[in-house]
Symmetry: C2
Subunit: 521 residues, 2 copies
């Protein structure tokens, strides 16, 4: 209904936005198309083609599993229903050698390939854009080794993050990363997208914790970089190139990662505060008191919190007596429960007495801790339950972090998509939450249905704002198909030129994950 008011919009940025909006890139005609004869070749190099090779193309000799389009939907369509490809073939190799053999065949014919992990991405990086062969790593899911003295884990790329975390927990360790999608996402996908998540604050980037990688290149060569040493300064650290390059330079098949000890003592607290400025002040005090035991420093705004409280699939009780404009969640992980609780106690007294937070709760026991965490972790799901969601994942200097949410909501009002601030309209809500400790904001815009008009109002407006604030248009979600042509908002043209040259070096035919990550030329 608010669309009626679009006529009011005259700002030049908005006009530019409408022009810049683009649909799916056209299929590159230089890529080969799949044929029964290529499928036969695939089948010949797979140990169990009846289960590892799925295609809608009929097989006269039953060499692969013939399926229909709906059987392939889970591989062709992303979980948000936003990106939908049309591959006729999914390969699920069981070993690095099988991945290598499949890639050799693809390179021979010039077939494009999309490497696929747990498909939990948000930028369409994990599904085909057109008819690319889907190379799904899900059947490679073995732990290869674990060293209990040093905490070094070596595993297949298709291992699910939660499974690895459970495996390590039994041995007194934990994965150095954790994210909402942990139950489905795979470590190979985590590495390929340089996943950040909830433990980044404490355990840092995968560029630091990944010790080695095994990678299959576009030509089928196996690049054996699966080192397990903490320190190794011999030559260019090539593995770094594959961390965060979204499967466009090679297919990660094996991962060696250093894992931290499981903490003895975990505490979770939540604070209600009156403004984003107060969030920042709280963060400073948290860092001072909790210092080395701090393991998460998250925030969400009232809109996000409200949605979680109203999530019909859960029945949360608001831990506070009234609602606050902002909420801060912190977690500490340490080795001594008494010490950690004393630090937390000091923090609580400090921020309450100094009026920095309006109210606060500290979880008593694991159940309450899990409940507080759920309130933060269920924000995305709770927003999705309300409609379709435009998701933006950005890094911003701390002082500008929430400003972006306010600017975008104001724009939604200005464009007539919301009647007023905090009033739902065609756009139901503009919410902000995320990893305040890492200056990583998740900006979510909730609508009834995806629409070109809303998207045109949001993009490139948001990217321009982020650029002006010296932020990154993708903090942890990557570029995928959604932002492939937006890289210029964060990276200099010279940098992009060299990225393209590195891409050409490792994948001269451009077979791996095309139409994504870097601008299509």
């Amino acid at each position: 209904m608010w669309l009626a008011r679009w006529g009011r919009i005259t700002r030049p940025a908005f006009a530019a936005a409408c022009r810049a909006y683009s649909s799916t890139p056209a299929r590159n005609p230089t890529y080969a198309s799949l044929t029964p004869s290529i499928l036969k070749q695939f089948a010949s190099v797979l140990s169990t083609p009846q289960s590892s090779l799925l295609s809608t193309i009929p097989s006269e000799t039953q060499q692969w599993r013939v399926v229909d389009d709906t059987d392939l939907e889970a591989y062709n369509k992303d979980w948000m229903g936003k990106y939908i490809g049309h591959s006729a073939c999914v390969v699920r190799p069981k070993s690095t050698e099988e991945v290598s053999s499949i890639m050799k065949i693809c390179a021979e014919h010039g077939l494009a390939v999309v490497p696929q992990g747990g498909s939990t991405g948000l930028v369409g990086g994990n599904v085909p854009v057109h008819d690319e062969v889907v190379l799904n790593l899900g059947s490679m899911n073995r732990v290869r080794s674990f060293d209990e003295a040093t905490g070094t884990l070596v595993c297949d790329a298709g291992c699910i993050l939660q499974t690895l975390d459970d495996y390590l927990a039994e041995r007194g360790y934990m994965m150095p990363l954790d994210l909402g999608a942990k139950g489905s996402c795979q470590i190979g996908g985590n590495v390929s997208t340089n996943a950040g998540g909830l433990r980044f604050l404490r355990y840092g980037s995968l560029h630091g914790s990944v010790l080695g990688l095994e990678v299959v290149l576009a030509n089928g060569e196996i690049l054996p970089l699966l080192q397990t040493l903490r320190k190794d300064n011999t030559g260019i650290d090539l593995k770094q190139l594959f961390i965060g390059s979204e499967g466009s330079l090679g297919i990660v098949t094996g991962v060696a990662i250093t894992t931290p000890k499981l903490p003895n003592s975990v505490n979770v607290a939540m604070f209600g505060v009156d403004s984003f400025d107060r969030v920042c002040q709280t963060a400073r005090h948290v860092r001072k008191h909790c210092a080395e035991i701090l393991s998460a420093l998250e925030f969400m705004d009232q809109d996000s919190f409200d949605r979680v409280m109203h999530n019909p699939s859960h029945s949360f009780r608001d831990p506070f007596e009234k609602r606050y404009p902002m909420y801060v969640l912190i977690e500490t992980s340490g080795s001594n429960q008494d010490h950690d609780q004393a630090k937390l106690q000091d923090l609580v007294e400090d921020v309450l007495e100094n009026g920095i937070v309006a109210d606060g709760v500290v979880a008593q026991g694991e159940k309450q801790a899990q409940e507080l965490w759920s309130m933060r972790e269920l924000v995305p799901e709770s927003l999705t339950a309300q409609g379709k969601v435009y998701k933006y994942d950005v890094s911003l200097p701390l002082e500008h972090m929430y400003e972006l949410v306010e600017v975008v909501e104001r724009r939604m009002v200005d464009t007539g998509m919301k009647p007023a601030l905090k009033q739902p309209g065609f756009v139901k809500a503009v919410c902000g939450y995320g990893h305040v400790g890492d200056c990583n904001l998740h900006l979510n815009v909730v609508v009834d249905q995806y629409s070109d008009d809303v998207e045109a109002a949001l993009e490139p407006f948001i990217y321009e704002q982020v650029q002006a604030m010296h932020g990154s248009i993708s903090a942890e979600h990557g570029l995928g198909v959604m932002k492939a042509d937006k890289i210029g908002y964060t990276k200099h043209a010279t940098a992009v030129k060299y990225m393209e040259e590195v891409k050409r070096l490792f994948d001269p035919q451009g077979l791996l994950n095309p139409y994504k990550f870097l601008p299509t030329r």
Copy 2:
């Protein structure tokens, strides 16, 4: 005198060692030679050529500072006196633009260049091999910005590590790395060599803590990657390529790095233990009790400790009543002195009561802490005071870490260079010390004079041993000229092939730091 016994050596590995030993690589004739006209071009792009451009080539018009060979010795010769080049020209640019202009001129003429930082390296990476132009970054030493809220530092590459640490200390922060050479080494060199050092255990690799880099490429292009965001997943993380590639892909001119808060409480303890097995057991208990506050976990053997005690430049008092085969030094850094001391107390009681350590001392106050640290940090200097030192810096699986020292000492006895284990001969000592928390061993072989015979007995023997033990032949010191052709002991040929292609991509003329890092073809 022990050389007389060389005739006994019959092991095939030793014969191979003698054959493999190679001298300085020949000058590549495709590189141009410096001329007065090129020097004039250099002078024309420098703001202060009289101080920034030094050459032994006469200048008719006084456009640069004419010097003699001895004036250039500090730039041509490494601090150990092991690697000596013959450059006739040193450029000390004052800005990134000057570095860029100089590189454009070098690329135009095909002049080879050695980027030079604080020249504290150990593998000859920082001095010319022949007549390469020395591009010394020492005049670029400004802090560009520091954000007190997030701890993000942006600075020139030529800033000295200690200077930066002092600058940060005044603001409540510290550099995430620390090493013996901190008083002279430069952050650009630290980044280019991926320096590890004493804080690696706690604050991790520079691949995790460096946020952005400004790099001048071989063709003079400025690659602007000087991000200050903690998270930024937009495209290939190109900066990673320049971390640890020893100036062979580009010249780091600016660094953005995340810095941790200065701890409120620092404690240092040292233990005397009876064997390397006990070192490993001690390490396990230290990790258990000190966990999140542990900031260093070092070891040294008795030979190393003895040399420090006998160092004529210092007068240490042995903190223990008797000597032990091994010493473990630990440091904790935390936010609460009471909590940290309680953790340390628990540790001390545990390891003493369980007989894991034979004796232990905990520093009372900063002076004692500094003294214990000096005993570890002065090992290299104390060994150098005894003669010339062959230095090997390797990573090994924990269980093999000290085995290498024992194997090498036994070889020195077998080859007649030492009369017996622990008895000095032509080889005065074979010592082991290092970062046991990172499985990083510094193996030092002390001799009266460098000799081809000793080197031939040590190499490739040591590299072969490291390879057999699945270690790295360079943990933190890099490859330089010393190990350029040894990379195959740690890295697979396929990996080396792609390293060479990356090198060609960024430096097609091969102008940057030639004869080093990667094998010379």
